[in-house]
């Protein structure tokens, strides 16, 4: 059999880098281990270069179960960007926390490869393969700080809840397979063109189970319960990685599978997604207000942002989908940046995440505080920052599609979110006191990560045109 291997290139490169890191780990002396980070970055950067060079191509492999198109390349770039930022901000952190570096970096790379497979999968089984590769790696990453009880607890919770969700997904896949006789999405889509009366009843049940599985992975209310605990317990760079890359991967699969290939099943869940969107935004924001830990607040805020993205999914069509992709692109630097700042403030003896620890930061660590201000204002949706342009496109597509009510609920939620985002700024600039001890994780590379995220936050806010255009092209190649 002749197999076209080109489409596998980006994923394979990341996998290869993961294996190389794992192997070299055995031969490196303790003081050489930070080099592994740079090898990981090199592998990821190669993948990014490939993704740029392959942009515009459209090839399938393994009987078209794996597609290399602009859509998967767009998300590959997002995942790689998130992974690079994660590695950059981890260099010192993992060393000081006593985490095994070889395992840590290779797991990040494995997870990234899994995500790339998820975004490129045109077959439910291949998608599942990618999902599990990613999930298992992230379960382990969550618990990798073995001396921290929080970390282990979070990993356990994540694993149990995640497996449960996987069960839903698998059951849904099984039912869809039972109804259509195939797991290939193109063939399923062809089947769904037949009149609805001929579908077996359980086909829509299968679709709904898939929806539940996805809702769980993106952390939509009422399937969000794992998020706060897991985000809070995981080592902070891993939390950042999870909140941006894992979420983006889940939305990528959601866009390709539910929004695109299975769209004829829409009638069964369109209303459900609307309810999910409203509940997710509102509950996420309300719960975020009452948090006393910034890290936990960001966990709830990531739930709220999943809700905004769901508005784009409800709006659908060309611009709704484009806005989802673009929103994810803006969400990556902003949210990751916020977690990177928290990483920078980590101290050995105390988890440095309470609001009080940010007191007076503005004049003691001006750079970090300024970056954090940008991230908070961007998350709150202030122009001209990335978060604003992202929200603008989401709301615009919703209004154009006739969902003005959703847009209004969305902006009211933005108003709610001001309360807790501004609290961070109040602490940093308007409160005195707050003792900052010696940071565990501060390193030049972490500062580079924060600076990159800040630049991206501003750039995507002022000049979003190109990124929006890429998002549009990426989505339109699905057709």
């Amino acid at each position: 059999m002749d197999v076209n291997l080109v489409p596998l290139l980006p994923a394979a490169q990341v996998l290869l880098a993961a294996l190389v890191v794992m192997l070299l780990d055995l031969f490196f002396a303790e003081h050489e281990k930070p080099l592994l980070a740079w090898i990981s970055i090199f592998g990821l950067a190669l993948c990014a270069v490939d993704a740029v060079l392959l942009w515009g191509s459209r090839e399938g492999t393994f009987a078209d179960t794996f597609l290399l198109d602009n859509f998967s390349l767009f998300f590959t770039q997002l995942f790689v960007a998130a992974a690079i930022l994660t590695v950059l901000s981890s260099v010192r952190y993992v060393r000081e926390a006593g985490i095994h570096e070889g395992e840590y970096y290779s797991l990040i790379l494995f997870a990234t490869a899994g995500m790339i497979v998820m975004a490129a999968a045109n077959d439910l089984i291949v998608f599942f393969l990618g999902l599990e590769t990613m999930s298992v790696a992230v379960y382990v990453l969550t618990g990798i700080w073995r001396s921290s009880a929080r970390s282990s607890e979070a990993a356990m919770k994540y694993f149990l809840m995640g497996s449960f969700a996987t069960g839903f997904l698998l059951y849904g896949i099984a039912l869809i397979y039972g109804a259509t006789g195939t797991t290939n999405l193109t063939e399923i889509a062809a089947y769904l063109l037949e009149p609805q009366e001929q579908w077996p009843r359980y086909l829509s049940v299968g679709g709904l189970l898939l929806l539940v599985g996805f809702a769980f992975k993106v952390g939509a209310v009422p399937f969000h319960f794992w998020i706060p605990d897991v985000y809070e317990g995981a080592p902070t760079p891993v939390t950042g990685f999870m909140s941006v890359a894992v979420k983006a991967a889940a939305f990528a699969a959601w866009a390709r599978i539910l929004m695109h290939q299975l769209s004829p099943l829409d009638s069964d869940w369109a209303y459900a997604v609307r309810v999910l969107a409203i509940a997710t935004m509102t509950l996420g924001n309300l719960l975020a207000i009452s948090q006393s830990s910034v890290k936990r607040m960001l966990a709830y805020s990531s739930i709220a942002h999943a809700g905004y993205i769901l508005i784009g999914i409800v709006a659908g069509e060309e611009w709704g989908s484009t806005s989802v992709l673009f929103y994810l692109a803006t969400y990556v630097p902003v949210t990751f940046g916020a977690f990177a700042v928290i990483t920078a403030l980590t101290e050995r003896d105390r988890p440095k995440e309470e609001y009080g620890h940010f007191a007076g930061l503005g004049f003691k660590r001006p750079f970090l505080a300024m970056a954090m201000t940008f991230f908070m204002l961007s998350l709150a949706g202030f122009p001209p920052l990335a978060g604003f342009t992202g929200k603008f496109h989401i709301f615009r597509s919703a209004i154009a599609a006739g969902y003005t009510d959703l847009a209004i609920i969305g902006v009211l939620n933005s108003l709610l979110s001001l309360i807790y985002y501004l609290r961070v700024i109040v602490m940093m600039y308007m409160s005195e006191g707050g003792v900052q001890g010696k940071s565990l994780a501060e390193s030049p590379s972490l500062y580079v990560a924060v600076a990159l995220a800040t630049v991206a936050t501003i750039y995507l806010g002022i000049l979003p045109t190109r990124a929006v255009e890429w998002s549009r092209i990426a989505y339109s190649t699905l057709f």
Partner: protein
């Protein structure tokens, strides 16, 4: 690809460049920081004077227009321009900013960040006044919120965090529905014309059904009404004013509040004229309630800054009354009153700030008998008090007179009620003046107060000069406003009720026969 910034872009850039240069200077060099900030704000002022000079007084349309595509796929562009309405608000902004910076000479703490925020604020305000693209306008509208938030929150009084948060939440509660309305409007335009645009001048031509207009007007109007502030949306204002540092109060009262009235005149009314006509009675009623309520509450304030803050509620009520008189005198008076309120209230806040610097209190009860102790200060305070009351010969008179004139022909009953606000205004201002400056000196601490120094005189002299000039020679101002007001009025009322007076000179006396 690269092009030189246009006239207006340069105006927007001057303070912003200053702000970023400031960041490069070490914080120990206090004097350099202050001088640099002052120079860049003066540069902006001089450049705005050049615009004033190059401005064609006979044209009612936008001038110095610049158009650069920004997000062409959505019809979003960087479009800026100035007409006779925004010209004076731009000048007011650039005029007050250097004074506010000189008034900040006494700020000790974190001066670098303070000046940075002041200059960014200036760009934000100027941008909001010149933006002719709704998206761009929204961006500037929000951009100016953040520096003000910091100015109140970091350099404010004891309850500064509460006041700053209240300010932001109130403003955002208004502006977020406006964002939805802006997008909705652009989508409707796209629906009709198959192409999306946020260009204000294009959107003016869109005529929507009345019920849709009402919703959109309410969404825009809420945002502007909070900023004005129109009764009952005014409760953020006293808190923000009392807690803000002196320069913050000056800018807040002098310029930011005008954002609201300007927004009505530039956006809400001409974009949704049918809704404006339907809702006029409601707004006029709220404006008149605000006039009387603001004046009555001001009368009872023990705190000077709070008194001035509530007097702003009252004065801005007059502006709203004038705008919604929907005739040439009313609107001209409204604009004139915006500028003169900016000057006189700005000056009042400066004076109160100077008093506070000396005595560290703003309570009226802590003063008394300052007339002999501080002769220069007292005389200047008296002039500004008269300006605020609307004494003929000073700037406040022209605006109030035109407003009442215009409003009387449209809404005589409400105007009669509003006119009591003038009397109430005289009562609370003069009563305050009497308690602070006359009578015996009860508190011995006041005996040690020193009169104004050179820096303070330097701040006040230009304002007071302008107060007098605007009071006795309004012609250059009114004549430049007139064509643009005509155009705007035409948009609001449509062609069937076009304003009569087109070539008359525009002094109030002649204009009174305008209808």
């Amino acid at each position: 690809m690269f092009r030189l910034p246009g006239d207006i872009s340069l105006l927007l850039l001057l303070p912003l460049i200053g702000a970023f240069v400031l960041l490069l200077i070490p914080r120990q060099q206090r004097q350099t920081l202050l001088t640099l900030a002052l120079l860049s704000s003066i540069a902006a002022f001089i450049w705005s004077l050049r615009l004033f000079q190059a401005f064609d007084p006979a044209a009612g349309e936008m001038q110095f227009v610049e158009r650069i595509p920004w997000m062409p796929a959505f019809g979003i562009g960087y479009i800026v321009g100035i007409d006779g309405i925004s010209l004076f608000l731009v000048l007011l902004t650039t005029f007050l900013m250097p004074l506010a910076i000189v008034a900040s000479w006494t700020v000790q703490d974190k001066i670098k960040e303070y000046l940075f925020f002041m200059l960014v604020l200036e760009t934000g305000m100027l941008g909001a006044f010149v933006a002719l693209d709704l998206f761009l306008f929204y961006v500037f509208w929000e951009v100016m919120l953040v520096p003000m938030y910091f100015l109140i929150g970091v350099w404010g009084g004891t309850r500064r965090i509460y006041a700053a948060l209240k300010f932001v939440i109130y403003t955002m509660a208004g502006s977020l529905p406006m964002l939805v309305a802006i997008i909705y409007l652009a989508s409707r335009y796209a629906h009709v014309n198959q192409v999306m645009t946020f260009d204000l001048l294009q959107l003016y031509n869109l005529r929507l059904p009345v019920n849709e207009q009402i919703w959109l007007f309410l969404a825009f109007g809420l945002s502007f009404a909070i900023k004005v502030p129109l009764f009952p949306f005014h409760t953020w204002l006293p808190d923000a004013h009392v807690e803000a540092p002196t320069a913050g109060s000056v800018i807040l009262a002098g310029v930011l509040l005008k954002m609201g009235t300007y927004g009505f005149l530039r956006f809400a009314m001409p974009l949704f004229p049918a809704a404006a006509l339907v809702l006029t009675p409601v707004i006029v009623a709220l404006a008149v309630i605000g006039i009387i309520y603001g004046a009555s509450v001001a009368m009872m304030q023990p705190d000077l800054k709070k008194l001035v803050a509530y007097s702003s509620v009252s004065h801005l009520g007059f502006v709203m009354l004038g705008l919604f008189a929907l005739n040439i005198q009313g609107i001209q008076g409204g604009i004139y009153q915006m500028v003169s309120h900016g000057l006189s209230t700005g000056a009042l806040f400066l004076l109160v700030g100077m008093l506070y610097d000396r005595r560290h209190t703003r309570m009226i009860a802590d003063f008394g008998g300052l007339w002999h102790q501080l002769p220069v200060f007292s005389v200047l305070f008296l002039i500004v008090t008269f300006a605020s009351i609307g004494l003929p010969g000073l700037n406040g008179f022209i605006g109030e007179f035109l407003i009442l004139l215009g409003a009387f022909s449209a809404k005589p009953g409400w105007t009669a009620a509003a006119a009591t606000g003038v009397i109430l205004g005289a009562i609370y201002m003069l009563w305050m003046f009497r308690r602070v400056f006359f009578g015996p000196m009860i508190h011995p601490e006041n005996g040690k107060l020193t009169d104004l120094n050179r820096r303070e005189l330097l701040i006040l002299a230009p304002v007071i000069a302008l107060i007098i000039i605007m009071g006795i020679y309004p012609q250059p101002f009114l004549s430049r406003m007139k064509p643009s007001v005509d155009v705007t009025l035409q948009r609001i009322l449509g062609s069937q009720t076009a304003p009569v007076a087109t070539n008359h000179a525009t002094s109030p006396e002649i204009n009174s026969d305008g209808r």
